[in-house]
Amino acid sequence: MKTENSEIATYNFAYLDEQTKRMIRRAILKAIAIPGYQVPFASREMPMPYGWGTGGVQVTASIIGRTDCLKVIDQGADDTTNAISIRKFFEKTTGIATTTHTCEATVIQTRHRIPEVPLKAGQTLVYQVPIPEPMRFLEPRETETRKMHALEEYGLMHVKLYEDIARNGRIATTYAYPVKVEGRYVMDPSPTPKFDNPKMNDCEALQLFGAGREKRIYALPPHTKVVSLDFEDHPFEVNKFEKPCALCAAEQVYLDEVILDDQGSRMFVCSDTDHCEERRAAGHRGELAGHALEAAQ
């Protein structure tokens, strides 16, 4: 199976050889069968650096087919440099269609965000994961953390969250906020802001997590129960923004702070660029959208 593009004719469709894809698919199937469990896999060296999405790229390369439509986001945006680079990599090695529209995509590779629009059955969200082990910063030894998962010994994590509350009056974890999957495995949601954690729960889409450097794959099959760790008297809560998006007036979305001048004035805009653009196309206007505010706003 060669790509049509003669310039790169020496590489297989989606770069990886079929044997490697098969190996990765086996790891994915195992991960789907045991939601939240980190499956070791023989991660390959990829033509982009470790830490730049090699795990996600390997997962995407193993599942993508000629009829798929791919969207790649980084920080929620399609036009961040590394998202462009990964999208171009797949355009070059597969020749398949790509899109920036969340609803059109069958496979979405992401770093640090989950799209605002709820994902649908048939879609797959592929996360790039730097450190798959949620307890790595509490216990650096892999031999120990694997044992802790096997024995379902998650006390350490609760102690950490408790100490946060004792010191700061609140849980001071704002991203990569640990979750419990189907009441069994504690899982790192990748460094998405905790704002996105609730979207993982009971999601219609398949969620796959690839950590290339750390050689682990894990998964959340559709409609998996995903609960953010918390305490009865300190329930999990997501960050709330005081103002809506300055461009599309969206509320209850994740916003980026943009510095406007050297006087420290700033505005807040949607981190999900596609969501923001579609809302503006639909006529929603924020206060800095550069158009007269509509009466409806």
Binding site: R44, E45, Q75, D79, Y175
Partner: protein
Amino acid sequence: MYVAVKGGERAIENAHLLLADRRRGDRAVPEVSLDQISNQLALAVDRVMAEGSLYDRDLAALAIKQARGDLIEAIFLLRAYRTTLPRFGSCEPIDTSEMKIERRISATYKDLPGGQILGPTFDYTHRLLDPELAGSENSNTRENPKERAPNGAKAQRVSEILAREGLIETDGEASSEAPLDITQKPMEFPLERESRLQALARGDEGFLLSLGYSTQRGYARNHPFVGEIRIGEVPVSIQAPEIGSPVVIGRVHVTECQMVNQFKGSATAPPQFTRGYGLVLGQSERKAMAVALCDRALRAGELGEDRTAPAQNEEFVISHCDNVQATGFVEHLKLPHYVDFQSDLELVRKMRADQGSQKDASITSEAAE
């Protein structure tokens, strides 16, 4: 008015064009050829082949040229190519006693069968910059080296000399199964020694050098002696089922270091010397020695020694010795992280506000008293 940033794609293209331009440098200066790199920067090529785990001088030279001399970048280029190559099978274990020796020294014996052969070494050079090399050197005027004709005596490995008296641990049996390939199977800790040695052989020279050095300075000190270092070509052979015996398919240049370390014995083992072992593709004595020091330190568990130092910690050493992984993850900090930073920003603001209102409250209550 704020406009969402676009045009990243064009910026990336232009950055890469600029990179290509800078790589070529001043067009008035002749372009460096792969042959020049391969011949005159041979040790750089050796390092890239060793840590890239691909024995191909031309490809390594190309990678060095493309990487503008950044060796870790060159190693990365070679690895990313290597990963796409099909595996035909495993060769037979190479036999370093069959080596066509270019250099062979032992620090534990004054003389030994096969002799001490200095070979092409920086040792005992005075590190004085050579002005003659700065000009367009006429290499023909340089004196040709005189090499002693080989006397035909087989250069026995020092470990074999010691093993005759039972003074040193033996090689052990090679496993009959094909060796585990750490680039094809996920590593799981604790590792077998063969996997560990594979990881060390492709590990970063600088990292392993410093770790080896730390063992000499008391962090897991184990009294090493250089039993032997040998550099040269060894034949590589495969089992060809049609022929029924191993067939030599080529030769590779390797550096082997056997460190001899004291061991006071245990309940089951008599006092004898133990070994740290390093084998590296190409000529890289420093790396082979560092690997041997680290290998010995990492055997602490197997030999019943206390694990107290970083060099003895297998997960620490093996998880961090790969420079392609390390450089990728360190440099990924350059990627945008503004979404997570925003979360932290909000939290810090909130915590500062909390602290401020607590202070205000205490001031008011003090005033009221």
